[in-house]
């Protein structure tokens, strides 16, 4: 018979035994050793039926297939573009996945995207060597222009987006900014400068207070106050 050695939703450190017995199955962030399931990272335990999963609380962004991310073009190659994605690894955006228009062989690829351009793209594949393939085919995937970039911890992204995008919708509506949140912790905002500052200060507040309850309410009042966040440390990309 298996039994849990720690409570569901508790914080564990690497090497801590989470569950005992073969009834439980180790999922991401955990591994089995003998009868026990052990955590391999610092994170929150999530028990889903028989599956024991670990939600990491720290660390760099880990590319995952299906994620929408924002990358910065760092290199232009024969067959596409290389993007920095705020992770240990870079991502490739191939010609075929970037555009449906015809590109001549040997054409100057910087005409499409050039160094320093920010692109919202979707991860289509991540190999065992952590080679990341991107695509621009999908709704909302494009090159970004005119706006500002901010970097947040990738682990706070779910809070910034909110349930079914509720938080980011509220930010968009109350500031009038256009906002794109990448799963890798890169956020693009575009609007009137003062609105952008307002949105940035709200995002920084979410980041700092994401663990406290009643977050949505507090952000709502924060936005309602016309708080310009002048005292906040605003990090620009």
């Amino acid at each position: 018979m298996g039994n849990l050695l720690v409570q569901d939703k508790s914080v564990v450190v690497p090497g801590e035994a989470i569950a005992e017995g073969m009834d439980f199955l180790p999922a991401s962030g955990t591994f089995r050793e003998g009868e026990k399931i052990i955590a391999s990272k610092l994170g929150l335990i999530n028990v889903d039926g028989r599956v024991v999963r670990l939600i990491p609380l720290a660390g760099k962004y880990l590319p995952k297939s299906g994620d929408t991310i924002i990358g910065k073009v760092s290199d232009v190659t024969f067959s596409g573009w290389r993007l920095e994605i705020n992770s240990a690894y870079t991502a490739m955006l191939g010609l075929k996945d970037a555009t449906s228009s015809f590109i001549m062989r040997g054409a100057d690829l910087t005409k499409f995207f050039t160094f320093g351009d920010f692109i919202v793209a979707k991860i289509i594949n991540v190999t065992s060597q952590n080679l990341v393939d991107l695509t621009l085919k999908g709704p909302g995937l494009r090159k970004l222009s005119e706006g500002r970039m901010i970097y947040v911890s990738p682990h706070k992204v779910p809070r910034i987006i909110g349930k079914q995008g509720s938080m980011v919708m509220m930010l968009k509506e109350s500031t009038g900014c256009n906002i794109v949140v990448g799963q890798n912790g890169v956020i693009w905002l575009s609007g009137k400068p003062e609105d952008e500052i307002k949105a940035v200060s709200a995002i920084r507040k979410i980041e700092a207070e994401s663990h406290m309850s009643g977050l949505t309410e507090r952000i709502k009042t924060h936005l309602g106050n016309g708080n310009t966040g002048e005292n906040n440390d605003i990090q620009q990309a």
Partner: protein, 237 residues
Amino acid sequence: MTFNRPDGREFDEMRPIEAKAGIIARADGSGYFKIGDTIALAAVYGPRDLYPKFMQDPTKGVLRVKYNMMPFSGSGDRVRPGASRRSREISFVTERALLSAVNLEDFPNAVVDVFIELPQTDAGTRCAGICAASIALADAGISMKDMVAAVSCGKVGDTLLVDLSYAEEAVEDLPVADMPVSFLPRSGKAVLLQMDGQITKDEILRALEMGKEACEKIYDIQKNALKEKFLKGEQDA
């Protein structure tokens, strides 16, 4: 003849320990470990790109450790800044100790850098460094099989001791043996074992047992330090 410890500790009693996680804002993970008057700070950067490229390993990542005593850290002469024969050796053994816990295969072609700085020393620096580095690695979200705990053991006169201070290590009229040990707390495997001085086989085995017990206590302190950082309220709402 029994050796009485100058600070009145029991023979198996460690100096007061203080540990913290996440103290260096710009690092991906950081740890602080204070044992008595010895203070170790560790900062972890990465996983990140490894250059020069020929050092990259497509089958597994690379761990680099640098141990450094600050110029004013000792009690006597100024420590000459920069690498010395001693600090190179300690960097190397620390790296080997941490390697047995870190899952390198999770970040192929990348590197994780660990920098250990000692602003104040009173013996047992490599052990304090390992303890701090282990906290920092976990705080950086690096995948690990276990934490790593370390403590110095030794013999002064005929008495076996745990966690020697500099005053004990430098006793002049009695023979002194100094033996830093490091364990993986869960599996109980030794990952660092060095010795300086004269000691019998039987005494080594007894000292190892004492060291293991002390490491288990250190492990609890490390665990609490990491959890404390997030239990300030981080919950999955």
